[in-house]
């Protein structure tokens, strides 16, 4: 048991190191991606190819003046960055990143050489409520944004905080439902078994791995959209859009406090990507290689070397997904706020409910022995998308965009008579 404990301690340290290291270089990757998309060169002055840029950024953040507005609520102003970063880092605890360690694998000699009495998942903690833990931590992260917006005592921050609150509670619902429709099919809320379950192939199309992204593409799309919204990134960055709100909820922050908001955004991105990879993209599963090497599915429980390979595969997928994140950010324009709310409440929530019902029906049919393989879900998803398009056609058309006249504006084109009528109506 001591060996298992030490192993988990090592997992936690590795995870923490990976996350903080990745965050630093993610910022460089983000700037390089932006430069690539905008046909620029990007940061290339500090170190070879700009590789030391994160260090320079960090030093700059530390040396900047710490500033607090005079109208700020002091306690909450200091508390907000702490509140935002803590849950963002907690979410990593339940993410499986190395498959299973087989029973009998021993720790290296210098760590005591204890052998593990049983097989266990390579993750910091494996509670039976893993998926719900991720959701809980995501739902706690909204407080940092709210507090920052409220405590700053500035209009821009305040509006940013309000927008973030509305956005985050709206997009949490489809996120939870899409995660649950995966969990229902897997029959567990632990992330480890859900990942292990995906290390197989479709029975009829044997080259296609049976990852959840292929069996439940609708849920995957919904989840990806929601994590984009939850981490406040373009096209959902209305809480901090520069053109309208200066900097949104972190307008008044400077120095390391601002850096903490930055770190929290990036660690939320990494958590989101890691969850997406673990639940939808097969986790540590490297397709086709296992067919060549083992003439079958990759073994779930391995020794240290296998764990290392799985580790590389998992983080490779995560970084590829993070690149996709940035690609989207620098490609798509921002939503308008009513469009954002419409998308969540009139588009994604009904769709995610439909996905969840479909997954439940699948589970029922599987229990009755009518269908066997998860591949049938793909068919269900295709049907669902068809129904969605049909319903969209049948639904009464939106009134479309309306012109909003602003009273008392010198650009107001309403004639004076209509204006008087309007004011009397008020």
């Amino acid at each position: 048991m001591v060996g298992v404990f030490i192993a988990h301690l090592i997992f936690a340290l590795v995870m923490l190191g990976m996350v903080t290291g990745i965050i630093a270089y993610l910022i460089l990757l983000e700037r390089k991606t932006a430069a690539w998309i905008q046909d620029r060169i990007g940061p290339n002055r500090v170190g070879p190819q700009g590789l030391l840029q994160p260090l320079a950024d960090g030093v700059k953040f530390i040396l900047k003046e710490e500033f607090m507005p005079i109208h700020a609520d002091k306690i909450l102003f200091i508390l907000a960055p702490i509140v935002i970063i803590a849950p963002a880092l907690c979410g990593f605890a339940v993410i499986p990143w190395g498959g299973d360690l087989a029973a009998g694998t021993a720790l290296p000699k210098f760590l005591g050489g204890w052998a593990f009495p049983h097989t266990f998942h390579v993750m910091v903690a494996n509670p039976q409520i893993g998926v719900l833990f991720v959701i809980a931590m995501a739902s706690l992260s909204v407080y940092g944004v709210v507090l920052a917006g409220w405590a700053s005592g500035s209009k821009y921050s305040f509006l940013g905080g309000l927008r973030a609150t509305a956005q985050m509670i709206s997009y949490e619902i489809p996120m939870v439902l899409s995660l649950l429709s995966v969990a229902v099919v897997a029959g567990t809320l632990r992330l480890g078994p859900i990942t292990d379950l995906q290390a197989t192939y479709f029975s009829s199309v044997s080259f296609l791995p049976a990852w959840n992204v292929f069996t439940q593409p609708v849920a995957f799309l919904l989840f990806v959209t929601c994590i984009f919204a939850e981490s406040n990134r373009t096209p959902f960055d209305l809480a901090e859009c520069e053109q309208e709100l200066v900097g949104g909820y972190h307008t008044e922050y400077s120095s390391m406090k601002f850096a903490l908001f930055f770190l929290a955004e990036y660690s939320a991105m990494i958590t989101g990507s890691a969850v997406a990879v673990a639940l939808f993209l097969g986790g540590w599963h490297l397709p086709w290689i296992d067919q060549l090497l083992y003439h079958g599915a990759q073994p779930v429980a391995t020794g240290w070397l296998g764990m290392l390979l799985k580790f590389v595969v998992f983080w490779g997928k995560v970084i590829a997904f993070l690149f996709f994140y940035m690609w989207v950010r620098w490609t798509l324009p921002r939503f308008r706020f009513d469009q954002l709310m419409n998308l969540a409440w009139r588009g994604m929530i009904p769709l995610s409910l439909a996905t969840f019902v479909m997954a439940s029906v699948f589970v029922y049919l599987r229990q009755e022995g009518i269908i066997e393989h998860r591949g049938w879900l793909l068919l269900g998803n295709v049907v669902l998308i068809g129904i969605m398009f049909a319903v969209t056609e049948l639904r009464p058309a939106d009134s479309g965009n309306r012109r909003m006249y602003v009273l008392n504006s010198r650009y107001n084109p309403i004639p004076a008579s209509a204006k008087a009528e309007l004011e009397s109506a008020v």
């Binding site: 609520d73 909450l76 509670p127 959701i135 739902s139 409220w150 905080g161 309306r402 109506a425």
Partner: protein
């Protein structure tokens, strides 16, 4: 009658009465002192009682997590009741939710613990905070007059703590036949209590009808909330709209 218990309850009552918001003449420091005293007496009492029940075994170390979470829950609940600023009170409530969910994990109810965080901290309190933010200005603005002046503090505290004292006497003076049992040890718990399967089977077999009713209740409240929150007055004074109001 148990005098230590009465002292703890009375100290708690005094502490809470002093902590209640009352405009300029607030006595937060004195109240804090009294509450620390009350909790100290209460915890000492509990330790003493555990020692009596367990043949001298005080269980301080074993129950450390319980005492920590319980103290956190009580302090933050007092914060909710007593803080003059509603946003701070809401944050104290989030803290209390976290403490209570910690206790639930100790009681092998992991699912309930996480659901408590998701529903209370993630959904209910966020909407409360949203309304609080809508209703008050941000930053360092003075609290509203109706928040700094509590109504009928003395009577409320007196009545409630008489109730608490009675309940505590009932719990602790019920004798060996009452609530003096220890909880079964985790490894001795039968039926896989705390596992999702058992809870789900219980909900969907024994309580299937109540569960459906709860679902209907939620649907009704959803419709009701939408109906209540619908704007039936024109928003034109804020924005001005493209289409003029029909009336």
């Amino acid at each position: 009658m148990d005098y230590a218990l009465i002292i703890a309850t009375a100290l708690g009552a005094i502490a809470l009465y002093l902590l209640l918001p009352r405009g300029r003449a607030n006595m937060v420091k004195l109240g804090g002192l009294a509450s620390v005293l009350a909790m100290g007496v209460g915890i000492t009492y509990l330790i003493h009682w555990t020692a009596a029940a367990h043949a001298g075994h005080t269980g301080i170390i074993e129950n450390l997590f319980f005492y920590a979470f319980a103290a956190l829950a009580l302090v933050s609940a007092a914060g909710v009741v007593c803080h003059p600023k509603p946003l701070y009170a809401a944050l104290y409530f989030v803290l209390m939710t976290l403490a209570v969910s910690g206790l639930f994990i100790m009681l092998m109810a992991e699912f309930i613990a996480v659901v408590l965080i998701i529903i209370y901290a993630g959904a209910i309190l966020v909407t409360y905070v949203f309304v609080i933010m809508l209703a008050s200005q941000g930053g360092q603005t003075p609290a509203a007059q109706y928040d700094t002046n509590s109504s009928d503090g003395f009577m409320a505290v007196f009545v409630s703590f008489v109730l608490l004292g009675t309940v505590l006497q009932a719990i602790f003076c019920a004798g060996p036949a009452g609530f003096m049992h220890s909880l079964p040890a985790p490894h001795a718990v039968a039926h896989g209590l705390g596992s999702l399967e058992v809870l789900g089977a219980n909900l969907y077999s024994r309580y299937a009808l109540p569960l459906e009713l709860a679902g209907i209740l939620l649907t009704i409240s959803l419709v009701g909330a939408v109906m209540i929150a619908r704007k039936n007055e024109p928003v034109a004074h804020v924005l001005g709209t493209g289409d003029l109001p029909a009336e």
